[in-house]
């Protein structure tokens, strides 16, 4: 991994429009701030190496290094990343009636983590009106208010930086693949700082094909409905080609063809659909709106799932083979598209004097693009 400073970050990510506003660089210094889904550098900074650059999921992400560190093995570029088990899951009977997004698995896992004392706070995505904002929730009740998908780039990780600054040490994090990738880099202490602490006690990753530009989506929705009356947003899995908005005035559908132009450029170079660097990853299941797909990746992730099941907070069942195949295909396709785009843009394994990459992967993985 090559670590540069804020000026390279500005050049390679912000100016190229690759920033997805994950919030990893926000709250570390006075320079990077987030507003309405976008991150900005307010004033010039002189550091030649900075955490802002080291944490960013859109520049110099060395997947081999991450794989070695978190998986103890080489990065192979498999569609779903390293995992122990894939099941379908939903909130158990001990959980309240919701409402949840899909099966309520994330809410159930968080509830278990809070109740068991595994976490003392959770880094989540709340919203102010329609704008997603980071939230450091100190209780289950506070966390429950953040439930529901936002589908917009959110600076969630600013709340993780806040948690560290406040000295918290057991923090749950729920994030999208870009956020989980950034968090994986944050947890690796790339600048070898003495004051480093890994406070992420449980990382729950979300499935994500792409997010949407916050301002763009709000503008689009404001043209069609009263955004103050939106209760829930949903992107039903393929082959559905719509975004569904449940409002106090009824259901509104927006064709995906109108929404796709709002996908930030940074999403097009993302090879990760299932948050591969999380402890647990959660998504929807095609054709089963009341269930989630749950990927168990780590030992501590498995422990939390088992506890939740034992306590009646979570129910799991084997994943139907068809769904698993479709998930593999979708995740594999996202990877292929990302490798192709990154390579086309000269951002994959770009070596040589002054050359910087968005992503670094082993050569054999790159070769697999062409096969």
């Amino acid at each position: 991994m090559q670590v540069f400073g804020p000026n390279e970050l500005q050049e390679d990510v912000l100016k190229k429009g690759l920033c997805v506003g994950c919030g990893a660089c926000v709250g570390l210094c006075p320079y990077f701030k987030t507003y309405k889904g976008k991150t900005a550098m307010l004033f010039p900074c002189t550091l030649t190496q900075g955490r802002c650059h080291a944490f960013c999921p859109k520049t110099e992400v060395d997947l081999e290094e991450l794989a070695q560190r978190y998986w103890g093995k080489s990065y192979e570029g498999t569609p779903l990343g390293e995992h122990q088990e894939i099941v379908r899951a939903r909130a158990g009977d001990r959980m309240g009636p919701g409402p949840y997004q899909a099966g309520g698995t994330v809410s159930a896992l968080l509830a278990q983590a809070f109740k068991s004392g595994l976490v003392e706070a959770a880094v989540l995505t709340d919203r102010q009106e329609l704008v997603p904002v980071p939230r450091l929730a100190r209780s289950l009740e506070e966390a429950a208010r953040c439930a529901s998908s936002k589908y917009m780039a959110a600076p969630t990780l600013a709340a993780y930086n806040q948690a560290l600054a406040e000295g918290l040490s057991r923090v749950g994090v729920v994030g999208t693949p870009c956020q989980v990738t950034a968090l994986a880099q944050m947890r690796a202490n790339p600048l070898q700082r003495d004051d480093f602490r890994d406070a992420a006690a449980m990382v729950i990753g979300l499935f994500c094909t792409w997010a949407l530009d916050t301002r763009g989506l709000i503008r689009l929705l404001a043209d069609r409905l009263d955004t103050g009356r939106i209760k829930k947003m949903d992107l039903p899995p393929p082959p559905s080609e719509i975004m569904v908005l449940e409002t106090e005035d009824g259901r509104v559908e927006v064709p995906l063809s109108e929404i796709r132009p709002l996908v930030p450029a940074g999403c097009h170079i993302c090879p990760d659909m299932t948050s591969e660097w999380a402890d647990l990853s959660v998504g929807v299941v095609e054709g089963q709106p009341d269930w989630n797909t749950l990927i168990v990746r780590t030992r501590r992730g498995r422990d939390l799932v088992e506890q939740a099941k034992a306590d009646g907070m979570l129910v799991t069942e084997p994943m139907p083979a068809d769904n698993l195949a479709n998930l593999n295909l979708a995740a594999g396709n996202k990877k292929k598209r990302a490798w192709a785009r990154t390579r086309e843009d000269g951002l994959l394994n770009s070596d040589g004097e002054g050359r910087r990459s968005a992503i670094r992967v082993p050569v054999r993985v790159v070769e697999s693009i062409d096969s």
């Binding site: 210094c29 006075p30 701030k33 987030t34 507003y35 309405k36 991150t39 307010l42």
Partner: protein, 647 residues
Amino acid sequence: MSIIVEGQKGQRYLLMGNEAIARGALEAGVSVAAGYPGTPSSEIIENLSKVSKQRPIYVEWSANEKVSMEVAAAASFAGLRALCVMKQNGVNVGSDFLLHLALSGTRGGMVMVPCDDPGALSSINEGESRQFARLLEVPLLEPGDFQEVKDMIKWAFDLSEEIGNMVFVRSVTRLSHASGNVLFGELPEGRARAFFKHDGFILDPKEGIMSPAPVEMKHAFQHQKLKTAVERFETSPFNTYTGPERPELIVVTSSACNLYSREAIQLLGVEDRVGLLKLGTTWPLPPKLIEKHLRMTDRFLVVEEVIPFTEENLKILAQELGPQVGHKTIMGKRDGHLPMVGELNPDLVVNALAQVLGMEYKPAPEAYTKRGQELIFFGAPNRELTFCPGCPHRASFWSIRSVLEMDNRQGFVCGDIGCYTMAILPTGFSTLKTLHAMGSGTGVASGFGKLKPFGLDQPVLSVCGDSTFFHAALPALVNAVHNQSDITMVVLDNSGTAMTGFQPHPGLTVDAMGGEVPAVSIEAVCRSLGAQVRTSDPFDLQTTQTTLMDLIDEPGVKVLILRQICGLSPEKKMKKKFDVAVNPEVCLGESCGCGRLCTRIFRCPGLIWDKARGKAKVDEVICAGCGVCASICPAGAIEKVEFKEVA
């Protein structure tokens, strides 16, 4: 007590040029003086203000230069002597009125004193007001020393009254702001009586209506007036020649360049070879006087600032007089002997003169010059222009820049003239992206704010000061409201015309003579125009930023008034609100990671970097105690406590 009133007739006093102008106006019996502040002209009205209780005179800081000309003209129409002063570009502001005034003519003597700023020492232009005399076809005088500064004002009033039109007396920074000895004349007694006659024959200049129409006829009158002026110029005491009867070369000069030219001739020791024709009446040039001097030699060097104004006029006359006087070589700026831009100085003039005379001259030994350059380059600290400690503008631009960067749509700020002009520089975080005339920020913004249909979706902001608001930003704001432009206008209200020395303006409760007057509320004006108006204290960074964030997202015209009195204002000067100090235990110094945000970016002169300790420090002598830096330190190391006077 002011020397310009207390000084005795027949005595000599050391006066600043602007004081001499004021004294000259008093000796001429001026009744009304109006102007708008602008360096280098401001002290003229200020000095007259100071004596407005002792002398029968009305003094006014007008809302802008055009209004000041109209105010002065009214006095003239009523038979009073009126003085109008402005900086060079102030003439532009009122030139529309002047073009009509030149035709309608004046009654009581009306003298216009534009103070030009060659080299733009306190301006962002090098505009030449002399051009206006030619454009408007009115007489132009240029004093060549401090005595002339005073005497010429009185002479100009007499001339104006004789011809029934305004007369320009042009000063420059080096006359207005330098000082010299002035022999005082008498101050007249009594208060002049004003009456406006308007019921006489329509073409009667003394009793008819004051109007440029019928234009052709009035224009013909105006040319008659100019002819009379030229006749007076032929014998004017302000045109002088010194030097041999048959010189090799005549230096033709005016204004402050007279002093440089005299010095250059002395330095070269060529008094017996070179003559000096110092012109005080520079437009129209008196042809007989010029012919006389054209006959004395064949070569002329014109020394003037800034444009080759006299050079060109002289060339026209030389061409016309060619059959009588023969071919003449007239050198100056057009052939490159002297620069077309910037101020002149004795070195530049002596070099030009030496070149023309074929002499070797070095103003300083080469080694000395080289050493000087080295010392400046390597030794002198970089001292760029900066806002004062405690300046509200620093806080305002900190917030504006932060908001625009955070907003992330490449929004920008259109600016204009005031201390806040410096926000094009790092001291204002390089926030201004356009910079033009008074009020132009809002006008330009109004135009940008209509470009949405062409794809421009960047937030458009303008800034203007409180004085500028009344001066020229108002019509631009009206324009933006009426045409439904999407802009956010930030009024940087520091409660005074701060840059020029705290002259009052229509937003304040005091007038030029110290009287109590009603203030015009910026909020009320903007609201009544239909703009959305918010007010914030720029020292409260958080509130200011949140407010501005919201405003720039709204459509239409929004006005944010950032009100905080200037740190140098008489009300605030020497009064600290907070005692501010850096807690060295908390300041992380070089290891903070902020990269010295306080002294590298915020850069208030009151904050210094303690090199020995590698930490920030407050220079308590310089710190004005505004406390803003306490809000910007990421480590919270800058601490402020309410200032308590030590008994």
